[in-house]
Every structure is written in C-alpha cells, then in structure tokens.
Subunit: 452 residues, 2 copies
C-alpha cells in the first residue's frame, strides 16, 4: 500500500471528478476509475442528440483534466465488484489488480430506467452518454431521410412522427430541440417531404411537464414548446413500446423514433454493496454522505438518495453531485486529521431547462424567469461550468453559428450502415450493430459480404 | 420521366459532389445518391483517427451543401445495382423506386484493399470513412489505457507497439500523427507508462516510402518521421496479420494496433457494370470519361482508371476526382446540346503529405518543398478546399489550439463498451460490436446482463 492514504473514486462524472479535484493539494493519493475515458457535460448531451454540438465539444478526456494534478491517477476500467470488508475494488479483467483503498468514494451515477420493461430499451433510446446521443441523432436524421424516399403515406407519417417519453427537463429539452430541428434547421434540405410537418409528441405521466418547477413555468414551457410544434400530452401512461411505435393503453401512436427520458435508476454498482437502497436502487447515504457502518466509504450524486430537509431526496442534478463531492473531500480530510465529519447541507442555486434555441425556464428561490432572458442565463451558467477553455469557446462559437445561420454543424449520420432492410423501412429502428460485420473494408458502393 | 433531363450521380464524395455543383445552373435535374448523409473531406480523415479533429469538423451533410441548389435532390440510399440497358439505378429496399436516368455519373470511390486477405480487415483497420477513423482512434487510445494497467511487461510492450502498413501519403500521415500523439500530446497524461516509449513502425513493401514523390522528398519524410519516433522499414512485405500482431515472413512484430494504409480497390459497384476493369476493379474509362459503348454513362474518381499521357493511370486523389467531375458536367451539357464531348486533360497541381504538426513534403512540378513551409502550404490548401465556412474556421481554431497547447481536443473513446475480456487484454482488439447487447440502459457501473 502507498505510504499516503489511498482514496479511490469510482466514476468520472460531476461527482467523481469534482471530488478528485477537491483533493488536489491534499496529502493523499487519488485513483479515479471510469469505464469511459472522458468526463461528459451531461446537461448538453441533448445538443449532441439533436445535432447541434459534436461529442468532443461537451466532453473532455479525464486524463486531460487531471494531468496537472500530481496526486491523481486515472484508470480506464470497469468495476466488477466492491468488497467493503477487505477494502478492495475489483476491476474487470483477470490481469488487473484489485485496488486497495483507505477511503472509497462511489460516484457511478445513474442509468435509464424502463420501469421493468427493459425490452423497450431497444426501441426507445435513452440519453445518458455520448453513444446514446449519437444513436438518437442517427435515428432522427435517418427518419427524415427515409421519409424523403417513402411513397407509402402511412409509413411516411410514421417516419415523421417522433415521440419523447418523459416531461422532465431532459424530455422537454429533447422535444424542443427536435421541434426546432424539424421546423427550422432541416426546413429547406428536403425536396419531397416538408420537415416542418413532422409531429413531435411529448408524453408525461403526471399532470404537467416539469413537475419540479413551479406551475407557472410549466405552463410557459408548454406554450414555448407549442411554438416549436411540440404537442404536450400530460396524464398519459405508456403501456408498450415496440417497432411500430408507442401504446397508451388502447391508443397507438405509430412512430419510428421514440426517445426515452422518463426515468433513471442508480448504477448497478449499488446492488453488491450490501447496504439499504431505495426503489430505484439508490444508496441511502448518511447525513455525512458515508454508507451506514462504513465511515470511510462515501457515495455522491445520482446513485445516492440524500434526504433533504423535509424528507424528500435531492434530485439527480450536477450541482447536487458537485456540492456533495466537495463535501466528501472535506470529510475525508477531517477523518484523516481525526476531526469529526460534518453533515452535508445542500444550497439550492436554482434549476433551468431550455426550450429550443432562444427560450428557457429558470428558477432560483422565488425568482422565476422565462423566455430569452432565462435562455441567456442558462447559456452563461453552462458555459461557465464547462471544463476546458477550448470547450467553452467551441460551444459558444457553435451556438453563435447555429443561432445566426440556423444551421446545425454536427448533423452527421455515423456509426452504422444503412440496414439493407425488409419491405418496410427499417432505417430508423434498432441499430444494425447486432448483426453488423466486424470492421470491414468500406466504400460507398453496395454492401459487400463481410470478411470473416 | 421528368421533363428535364435527369442526371443521376452515385456518390457524394469529391467527384459526385463537384459534379452536382457544376450542374447547378444548367437545365437538368440532378439526383445525388450516397449511402452516407455527409460529404467527407478525406485528406483530413487521419486527423480524426489521431484525435486531432472531430468528425463534424471534416464532414458536411450533403443536403446542407446542396440545399440552395434548386435542381438538385439528395437521396440517402444504397445502390443495389445499375442497369445500363434499361437505364435504371436500383436502390436497396423494396419500397424504393428505381431511378431512371438520362445521364449517369458514377463516383462511388474506393475501399480498402487487403490483397486477397480480407480476414486481415478485422485486425488492421483502414481509413476510408469516419467510422474507420473513430475506430482507429478508439483502438489507439484504448491501447495506451490498457498499457497503463498492464503489469506483464511483454504484453505492455505489445500494447505500446503500433504498426502502420503502407508507406504512401496516408500511411505516412497516420504514422507521423501517431508518433506525435505518443511523444507530445499524451506525454504527461499517464502515471505508470511513458507514452513516449511507444514504438511506431511504418512498413512499406517498396524500396522507399512515398514512391509517388521524388526520392529527395522521401528521404526528407523519413528523417522527419524519425524525429517523431517513427521507424520506417521499407522493402518489407506483410505475410499475415492476426490478433497478436504482424508477420513479415518469419519475423513477428507483436502489436495490439495495426493500421492499414497499404492499398485501395474500386467500389464493388464496378463489378456489375459489364465493362472492362483493371486489377483493382477500377473502370477503364474512355478519354471523355464515358464507359465504353455507353455515351451517357460517366465515371470519375477513385473507381476509375484513366490512362494519363504515357499510359499510367491517374492517382486516386481529390484534385483528380474534382477535375474529372467538372469535365463530366461539361460533357453532359455538350451532349445535351448536340456538341461533341471533349477528352479529359488532367492538370497536375502537385501533391503533398504532412508529417506531424509542423512538417510536410510538397511537390509542384519541379518545385519541392519540405519542412514547415510545406506544412503552411498544406494548411492553406486544405483550409481553402474545406466545404463550409464553419468547417474552415473550426479546423483552423482546432489546429491553432492544438499547435499552441499540444492538446488534442477530440481525444474521446466512444462507440464501444470495454470488452469484459478473457485473461489477456482484449481492449485494443476487435470491437465488441459482434457480441454487444442491443442498446440497453447504460451507466458507468459494471456491465449488466443485456436486456433481451
């Protein structure tokens, strides 16, 4: 074991990365593990999904972010298990050592939650990482392309019908951006179809969208969405999703592109910890963010349930994760110095959601903003929080370009060959990956037999 | 059939797109078909492969490029077959019509050529499109990551050995960028390995690299490559490639990352045309760029073999494709007006190749340039030819950032989960796609059982 205390952090998102950075000048060794090499600025993931930004503009290699921090190491690895008794983190892959820790910080985040209908995942893509975002982008763009060639009007309508499930901030942002893509960005790009005729439907099970915002702002958002051609249907429950579209009980919405923003649950890492979890698998952390009976094991962010004053859990947002992360760093050092650890107190700095290019809703305490002013505030806040100088400038430039020219720079279809499909258009459906050949010589000619 | 003559163009690369644009103000209807939605600036593809640029910075949606051109339609589709007798282009997918043409321009490009060893494609990734480039990037970055965790020194060395097969401009550019990545960009990002100790080997079957350049420039390039840590081995023939590395007869180079730049052959589209082809499947076009006995069917670019004065075929480069494309547009209009079509004459404006960030070789007639000056010229030429304003600015900005800060902005590993592999490190090898589960809820926790 290293001479200095070893802090192992699982996860390089807002929680894990902030915690590592908060320990920069402390007499500890930090090892941060993530199964991806980059930190992702998730609030802007929907922009990648709607072809407004490129992946590299919202992500930074974790090594890059931490490379000046001499006490930090980064490992690209998957965690197989966490053994709290032997104080080891086991990594996937037999040649890899287990990591022994003195302190452990779990920040593994959340994943999409299909409420027991994991089979829907194939048809309804979630939005948790860059691969999701690029896949959504692919399906959306391919749907328009396929509609351009489609002569059957019923199928064409299905291709031009987009459904977003879930009326929280993610769903609202996706739906707004999708409406904008159809009505503004793609408007003149097609000859046979009119992209503006695309139907975007936002489904929400509750009484209104954005239930975590004041009702006045929900109404504002609904109006702004309507202006972008998005139809909001509240009080609707999805009973089934398949390759034909979405079922709401007896009602069927034929759609080729369904996006899932209806719920998240904790990373599966929580299952093996042997501590109490809530209904979505989140760890019920103590007031000082430790696990019960494990004073040197902490958890932060979306994989945790921290009961706020009044007993409701804090939301899974980046400010929560970041504040918790800094607090954990403080508590680790307190523990090392033999001082008492402090309970965590969340300072609510407000929340916001965008609707399209020039509108948003934002609330801070009793301050409620809507429209363009809220959008400017959203822009400033998000730019400020982006990780590197370059990303800030690139994002600003891209937005400026997009704003003034209505173009979408990142409007590429990559990653899959077109499905050489059966008689109905399968371009917009489940990806080809399952049957895709291994990387083969490519060309723009007809698909050749894959080499094996 | 449309009232105006219908020109169908297969392929949206330099040849196809330039041809479409050259017909912008003519009294014809143009339909451009490509199986991808974007035009790719291939000369900069190696920059994406080496994490210097993002895909969106070197590609533009074809619709975007052509959306102001009222006589042009774009179809995202794969060509199943070309029927020269009935003058139809059949598209993949039963619900899609065949396209009837009055004039046909084939510009389907080239694909990687493994000289009869298509099984090597799995281990040696080529560089013909964005998916290739992103895959190369993934393998290269994962190799460094895996080496960081690797305790077995033999396997670690294998992971830090990179082989580029093919000493033409593509191979030279890849190898130089790879050397630069290892020695400069990643230099301080790792704690256990020293990325600068990575070995980059460029294999060339001929007597020297860059055989299409004067010998003096080949020597210059070899020296510059050595400065970036790239070892050039000329006069070597690869006899086998597998998951352990590369075999040169009895000699074995253990390597986890092999890049293929050794040859191209024509798109498979040429096979069904019923016209004479050369050894790499290229169409032997007439002097006026038509197919023999088909005066209204043209072919341009990498899928053709046009015999230059002296009998040697023109190289598969973008200036050749673009000049041919403009000439075809001219000949189509001549044919429509009942005038004679003209033979094509290629004007050689020189060629260039870069070596790393600040060096290149360039030749124009008897003018030979090397070093930084050649690199500036290369930069100017490539920026000028990029498709859209935004791309030019973004590329310039990225390069300026990269040049002054030695950072690589686009250094993301996307597109695949880490392989939960067998006992040897399989991170850098064949992609997971074959056994990957369908899109499933994701998280940064351990891989969960795939939903089915």
């Amino acid at each position: 074991m290293a001479q200095r205390p070893h802090v192992v952090i699982v996860g390089g998102g807002f929680g894990g990365l902030t915690c590592a950075q908060s320990l920069a000048d402390e007499p500890v060794d930090v090892t941060l593990i993530d199964s991806r090499n980059h930190h992702l600025f998730q609030p802007l993931l929907y922009q990648v999904a709607m072809a407004g930004l490129s992946p590299a503009e919202i992500a930074a290699p974790i090594r890059s972010v931490l490379h000046e921090q001499r006490n930090a190491s980064v490992l690209l690895a998957e965690v197989e298990a966490v053994d709290l008794t032997s104080r080891e983190v086991k990594l996937v892959g037999a040649e890899r050592d287990s990591l022994r820790f003195d302190y452990l910080v779990l920040a593994a985040g959340a994943q999409n939650h299909y409420f027991g209908h994991d089979d829907w995942a194939r048809y309804a893509v979630g939005l948790k990482d860059l691969d999701d975002a690029v896949e959504i982008r692919r399906r959306v763009l391919v749907a328009f392309e396929a509609a351009e060639c489609m002569h059957d009007p019923v199928e064409q309508k299905r291709l031009l019908t987009f459904v977003v499930v879930g009326g929280g901030p993610t769903g609202v942002e996706l739906a707004g951006a999708l409406g904008e893509l159809a009505r503004v960005v793609l408007a003149r790009d097609f000859r046979r179809i009119n992209p503006a005729s695309a139907q975007v439907i936002l489904l929400e099970g509750g009484e209104r969208i954005l239930t975590s915002f004041p009702e006045k702002l929900s109404k504002r958002a609904t109006r702004d969405l309507a202006g972008l051609g998005v139809e909001v249907r509240a009080g609707t429950r999805v009973t089934r999703i398949d390759e034909t579209g979405v079922f709401l009980g007896d009602q069927h919405i034929p759609s080729a592109t369904v996006l899932w923003a209806a719920g998240v649950r904790a990373s599966d890492l929580t299952r093996g910890l042997g501590v109490p979890l809530d209904r979505t698998g989140r760890v019920l952390v103590q007031a000082d963010l430790t696990l019960p009976n494990h004073p040197s094991v902490f958890a932060v962010g979306d994989m945790t349930s921290f009961l706020h004053q009044g007993g409701s859990p804090l939301p899974g947002t980046s400010p929560v994760a970041m504040q918790q992360a800094r607090h954990v760093a403080h508590n680790v050092m307190a523990s090392l110095r033999g001082q008492p650890m402090l309970p965590f107190q969340y300072v609510d700095k407000g929340s916001m959601a965008t609707i399209g290019r020039a509108a948003a809703v934002a609330q801070l305490g009793s301050l409620k903003l809507g429209g363009f002013l809220a959008w400017l505030l959203w822009l400033a806040v998000h730019i400020f929080f982006l990780i590197t100088f370059r990303n800030r400038f690139a994002v600003l430039f891209n937005w400026a370009y997009s704003y003034f020219t209505y173009k979408r720079g990142a409007r590429l279809i990559t990653g899959h060959r077109l499905t050489a499909g059966p008689s109905r258009s399968s371009l917009a459906l489940a990806p080809v990956a399952e049957s895709a050949p291994p990387p083969a010589p490519t060309g723009s000619g007809p698909q050749q037999a894959p080499p094996r």
